[in-house]
Symmetry: D2
């Protein structure tokens, strides 16, 4: 079964910064989608901030198994309505991969419930992403670590809830460390945060980074059925053990949607 | 050291519903504060939705070790600015106890990142809250379970992230079950969700429920130091291993606040 | 790809108790294997306590993707060597489903690190297993709950570490509750504890229970690669940043296997 | 209330290695106890492998709030009976701090359920332990990180279950990283693994390391009541909802201790 991926890109730096435009002439999202499409089991398309509904219409999300998210300069321009929509789909079971500066996106902060802040430095220093669980599906094919010659530094503390799993921990040339690969489950959806991807370095051309992107899409695939959220009233006579109403009550039995 | 608690009440049903007004003539918040003040180590005051800033000014939150939250009919009237403020204080280390229908409050949904929905029925049925960890500080003094003769039913699925601990699980007369006592950590703040407290029953007069409220306030006390969130730039020459800037860079080194 | 399952059965009650022998003339393990083999993607075989090496030779475990474990009367007769072997395979990535009274098996206690005790009563009472996450792969096809007309009661506290996910919570006719479906990850292996299965009731003939067994086997399948445990010495000149040995040292560099 | 700490030391290297004997003439355990006793709220005594019952009699453990564990060369000489005893006390609520090479102790492996393996190198290289949660009680007073000029390297993967919290992450001069401060809860007891402490370096004289030891003892203090493990039978007529026995049954009602 083909995994349908939507690669979301902010697509701002590509238009305003020469370095980024040179590195990613079609946009970072195009490069990420290309990396994913090298896997025959993945069918990746792109969507960008500037599209109507940021390219994330109900139809697009309905037909998306895994969404990847890269943003940096324009988090505030993402409409709350679209964030609501993406969150709903994650809880239903859609996978979400949040990339690099996406740590500060509305959708990631929404799902984490924390500020998602960190330390940072942009000096083109070396980063090594160490594998914490060598058997994990996400790290297959990367060996002991991924080495990136030039990267932005992100340092702890990373203000996120304790994850289900730490998959990568980075060590930077300057000395800092960072939990660079984290998994969460929210509702029936899986979430993977993956650190690399600063716009002024050719990170998404790195073979091992591309391998992780593909691995992660497979790991993030929806499993089970869609969890359709509701807050249903269960009338007393429809309880497994039917009950009589006792005493006075504020609500009428069966009254829907009060909550 | 005295624990400074602010008991927040929505205070709507008390004004509009005769049953609630009769049960809680001073308001549910007053009853909860009274239960807490039976403990000499606790100093509880109240704040309500109708107060300026909902009673949760910077000064009030600054001098609050633990905040308790009860709301139901007017979640939407709580201003987002106050929710931001409460969230910030939780991440810094303030404890938060979310009560009953507070599961649908803005602050709880904010911290959980999920819808926090559930099943419900209001028939005055019997509830038993079973203790899952008999050694846990929160359950001291309650024995094997708490029995409430009349309660609103909440049933699974409860749409929250997997908690750090399940402290209580309820069984209802009608047959449903619910994770009724859940702990989380967000930033440096502890969060406790405690289910009982429907407004039309005298739940907050129950001796065991009051004991749990007091126990939980102690467990929720701030520990360690305030975590002041920031997203600092660490200049290359201030790294533990000072680094040279390599290659071209989008940002100027030391540029603050881009993120 | 076919999932290779080994269904392990203690096979003691079947030989000593008329009721059990009548319910499960081929043994409980045979009934469980039959339930699994209804799924074309699963190939289940059986192994029993009385077999040489309890039927769990290196070869058998090597060719097992998921192991199911039912035991009750003879936990102490399982050799520690076989427990070591099963634990090793779980950490490498083999899935493990622990059934009912298997909560007190050596292998489950080994993997949990706790006593795994609980309350119990055998009165043939009704049990309902409520679904906590309706989208989860393990609960597909069971609706809101599974109802078993006659079951042994297990009650909280269940002395296990906090699980990754609570999938089922049971309510018993007598009033008790129990976390009846729990998931864990240990090493690269997934673990699922599933409560139903008392030997004197025809639990493993129940259609929904059989559906859960099949679902769980799929969920437990190995993912990623085998995690081969080791505790390697990394010589100073093979570090990513080669280091000089400083000062005196108890061990000689490169000395293997001290730890 | 004074915290009663027992500092357990293997006390083997001190007797057999000149460097260790010179660094820790009274034994490493004495140095650790001294660090703890600088805090007036702590009363630390020592126990060693060579003592009768390894110094961990029922009486000693009974009067111990927090136990610290350092071992390396003689894990196999610790009797299983004492390991059982320590595990029982942890589950009841006693805090446990496992130090450095104690990662391979019987008690730590017992509580984790995994191999607890890791990479290692002994070259006297620099280690920095970065703080992951600056508000956490355990890290108070250490700033952004602890720097140790000479340390043994431990590298990921660290084969332990996902912890409740990662408090420290180390970066080593040679490039490796390690989760150096981890918290767990097992039963009602808290567990803290703290990495530093190789015997041939003066680690336990470091002011920040000593601060963490003291902080951790406070954090590990027992809370709530002792969780006395049992596996009780609840007779049908003593259920909250008394039940009639239905059908045939393997066990007689009320029969104790079958499990």
């Amino acid at each position: 079964m083909t995994l349908r991926v939507t690669v979301w890109g902010e697509n701002v730096h590509e238009q305003t910064n020469d370095i980024v435009a040179r590195l990613y002439p079609e946009g970072m999202h195009a490069c990420i989608a290309e990396a994913l499409n090298e896997d025959d089991a993945i069918e990746a398309r792109t969507a960008i901030l500037q599209d109507p509904e940021h390219g994330l219409s109900e139809d697009v999300l309905e037909s998306t198994d895994v969404l990847t998210w890269w943003g940096h300069a324009a988090h505030g321009q993402v409409s709350d309505e679209i964030v609501d929509r993406v969150q709903k789909r994650v809880l239903e079971g859609m996978g979400l991969m949040v990339l690099h500066s996406g740590h500060y996106s509305k959708i990631f902060k929404r799902l984490m419930g924390t500020t998602c802040s960190l330390k940072w430095r942009e000096a083109g220093e070396r980063e090594r992403l160490w594998v914490v669980n060598p058997g994990h599906p996400i790290v297959q094919g990367v060996g002991d670590y991924i080495e990136l010659p030039h990267a932005e530094m992100y340092g702890e503390p990373f203000a996120v809830p304790n994850p289900d799993e730490v998959v990568f921990i980075s060590a930077f040339e300057g000395g800092e460390v960072f939990r660079s690969g984290l998994t969460y489950k929210r509702g029936n959806g899986k979430v993977f945060y993956f650190r690399p991807g600063h716009e002024t370095y050719p990170i998404y051309y790195d073979a091992k980074v591309r391998q992780v992107l593909r691995n992660a899409v497979h790991w993030l695939r929806p499993e089970g059925s869609r969890w359709v959220d509701s807050c249903p009233n269960v009338p007393p006579d429809q309880a497994p053990n039917p009950v009589e109403i006792k005493g006075e009550s504020l609500h009428k039995p069966g009254e829907e949607g009060f909550r």
